[in-house]
Amino acid sequence: MIERAKTSALLSDLASLFRFRGRVRPKFVLVITTVVCVALLSTAMFEVFFSYQDRKAALIRIQHEQAAEAASEIVEFMRNIEEQLSWTTHEPWTTTAPTRQNRDLWRMVLRQVPAITDLALLDASGREQLRVSRLSLDAIGSGADFSKDPKFLEAELSRPYRSPVYFRGGSEPYMTMSQRARNGSVSVAEVNLKFIWDIVSQIKVGEHGQAYVVDGRGHLIAHPDISLVLRNTDLSNFAQVEAARTSSGEPASTQLAEDVYGRKVLTAQAAIAPLNWTMFVELPVDEAYAPVYSLITRVGILLLVGLLLAFIADLFLVRWIVQPLERLEKFASTVRETKDYTLRVHHNSDDEIGRLAVAFNEMLSELSAARERESSDQFELARVSRLTTMGAMTASIAHEINQPLAAIAANANAGLRWLSRSEPDIGEVHAALKRINNDAHRASEVIQGIRAIFKKAPQHAAAVDLNELVLEVLGLVHGELINYRVLVKSDLNQHLPRVRMDRVQLQQVILNLIMNAVEAMGSVEDDPRVLAVTSRAQEPNVMLTVEDTGPGIDPMRKDRIFDAFFSTKSSGMGMGLFICRSIVEAAGGRLWATAAEPHGAIFHLTLPIGEAGDG
């Protein structure tokens, strides 16, 4: 069982090697395989092609030489017969009235030349005077008439006559040769061509190749397999025979052909010129190209080895590149998901991937440091801003509280006076106490509003009604508005969607904007001082605009008013708008300023609409 489990584990390991995740690996495999295959195949093809060509050329040359040599042997063989025959055209063979002595002389020719089966002497008139034979009775003076026979008619003094090959009894290949003597008589020999078999069967053409002879008509007259000859095989339809016959002596171009057994062969030939025969030497292609085949096998093995190496290289690629890359990728997505910038990737190597991991870690360090710095900066800014705002606020609060307190004191005074009259006016006292009560309530509200701002509420996003905040802030700066004689025009959309952000921060932003507007209008003497606050829904945002009729923003400075430590006010720290913009942008909103007509400034605040129904 354990063995089986091990085996299956091994199998799954192996299977994983063939899984193609991602893109790098298939590309790499493709490239390596292509390179290996193309390199090996191209050299192999070159080598195979050239060795094929060389070998073919060499074999054809050797075969051609063999053919030429065999052809000359056959020519020699035939010439020997002709020489023997030509002896018989001289004294004492030539005689008009042969005797037994003449016959014995002729018989000796048979003894000399085993290929001659029958030998005859025709006189000048074409009549047979003598015949000696291996197979039939010898005859003297038979007188048989051959005067019309080509062997008599065509025999000449200088040139022997050679008949076409014929098959005795339909089986044995024979040829008639004759030669004329000076006295007009003709010597005739019947030559058994099976003797040429001795020549062709001795030619070794590789292991399974062979040499054979074809006569002028394309019939086989000598072949190592003599049975083919005895069957009187007609080869005239074979490409190489046809080519040799038509090319008449020139080396034919046919080099690849089919032999009588239907095998593909390399063929070469030589003309046996005086006889109009052709000597063929053929080697089966399978045997001829055995070295080429073994070369192909070797190349095939090389290719396999190459592929195996490519495969191994692929394995190392996976181990060295793909898997580390995958780990890095996984790590990066972990960081992205958890936002934990303190995580570090572990990859100890000095290669590119190692350096990449180091760079990755360094980048994470920088990132987390930057985040830390940023958040502390913001915190500091917020604190400073709060303190500065507090300065302004303190005056406002003092004013706010002072007013009701002064009113309370005055009313209390008045009430006391009304009581201390001889006839206390209870109605006046009552009215004074009521005003005191009202003023006390107002003061209390002011305190509560301030407490809402300075309450150390943790910064957390919540769904906030922007209109409510605006009214709250307006209530807060009520005293200032009166102080500055500012007319407030508010146009608040009753169905404004809520926004999602920290309430106190937003309140601070709105307070800042309103106080800026109020202060900006402090210098306006002639025109009415109007503060217009508008809220609108602008999917997917809500927009708040705060417009004043102050002198407006110097266009030259327009771009800089949101910068830190930029202030147009002599007493300001230049942090207000910078902080506002930081807060707004942190909440995903925007804050910008435009010029109002005919003068004044408009501050636009947009904030994304928070999720519906979120408390």
Binding site: T33, C37, D104, R107, M108, L110, R111, P114, S133, R134, L135, S136, L137, D138, A139, F167, G169, G170, S171, E172, N192, K194, F195, E207, H208, I226, S227, L230, R231, N232, D286, E287, A290, Y293, I296, T297, G300, L303, L304, L307
Partner: protein, 324 residues
């Protein structure tokens, strides 16, 4: 996919590589049917084995030869042939009369013959070039060569003397042989007498007869029966002091005077080769009947001296071999 195709490609090459030099597998069984006797025909049996060996069949290795000898009783041949067919054997090698018997028994099992008689006339093959059936082999020109033997004997002995001819009456072509020889004798102007001994006893009687009839020489027709009775014939010729001419040089080696003809062992070697080719798949119908091309004249001078016979020098000059 590429990988797979590549492997297929390699495999293709591996299978395309030709399997050269295939050896015959298993043990082939060949029948050898002969009308004669085993003892006197050891030479041709050996030549037959030699032929098979040349083509790759070695006895007791990948070949078994079932020998069946009729001991000159031709009437036994059909039963022996049937026995071989029942075994069965892959090929039957047979001499002329045996081949006729085998052919009568089967038209499917290939038969390779060595025939002294004309294989076309005896119906063994359709033609020499294209045998056509299940039979092929080596033809021996026998009938033709008998004429040449007569011519030689005619040359050796004085013109007036009668020449006796021994013909086996059991030979299916005995009549043709006789008529051919008679015609040749007429051409030569020589008187001949035909004797037809068909048995061992007849042979003794025949020699007695030819002595009585004044025959001065004897032509022994090439025939399996006479081949079997080689020793007896040589002894009879010596006892009656009569020159004899044979077909086979073996007779001359063993004391006969003269022989003319092709080599019988050579013919059996060819039979062995043909049998081997048929075992390898060749069809007898496609294998043409072979004919010998070399004809030897062998003369035994010792026998000539014993017979007190002076051989013509022209004949001795032509002899391929002269045994001193």
């Amino acid at each position: 996919m590429k990988r797979r195709e590549f492997i297929v490609f390699l495999g293709g090459i591996a299978f395309a590589l030709p399997a050269l030099g295939q050896a015959p597998q298993g043990v082939a069984v060949v029948g050898f049917l002969h009308s004669g006797m085993a003892q006197v025909n050891a030479g041709i049996a050996e030549a037959f084995r030699q032929g098979l060996k040349e083509i790759g069949y070695v006895e007791n290795k990948n070949l078994r030869i079932e020998f069946r000898w009729a001991d000159d009783r031709n009437d036994r041949l059909p039963a022996l042939a049937a026995e071989l067919i029942r075994r069965p054997v892959a090929v039957i090698a047979a001499n002329s009369v045996s081949a006729v018997a085998a052919r009568a028994a089967t038209t499917t099992i290939p038969i390779v013959f060595q025939s002294g008689i004309d294989p076309v006339l005896s119906g063994l093959v359709a033609s020499l070039g294209h045998p056509g059936g299940n039979t092929t082999g080596v033809s021996f020109f026998a009938s033709t060569l008998e004429v040449k033997k007569l011519e030689l004997m005619h040359e050796i002995i004085p013109e007036a003397a009668v020449i006796a001819v021994l013909v086996n009456p059991n030979n299916p072509q005995a009549d043709i042989q006789v008529s051919d020889l008679q015609a040749a004798a007429d051409t030569l102007g020589r008187k001949i007498t035909i004797l037809k001994p068909g048995s061992e006893a007849d042979l003794d009687a025949a020699f007695a007869t030819l002595a009585q009839e004044g025959a001065k020489a004897v032509v022994v027709i090439g025939d399996p029966f006479f081949n079997s009775r080689r020793k007896q014939l040589i002894a009879l010729a010596a006892r009656h002091a009569i020159p004899a001419i044979y077909s086979n040089r073996e007779n001359v080696d063993e004391g006969g005077l003269i022989s003319y003809g092709a080599s019988l062992p050579e013919a059996y070697r060819e039979v062995g080769i043909y049998a081997g080719r048929i075992l390898k798949g060749a069809k007898p119908a496609d294998l043409p009947v072979l004919q010998p091309t070399k004809f030897e004249m062998v003369v035994n001078l010792r026998t000539a001296r014993a017979l007190n016979l002076a051989l013509p020098s022209a004949l001795l000059d032509r002899a391929d071999k002269v045994i001193e």
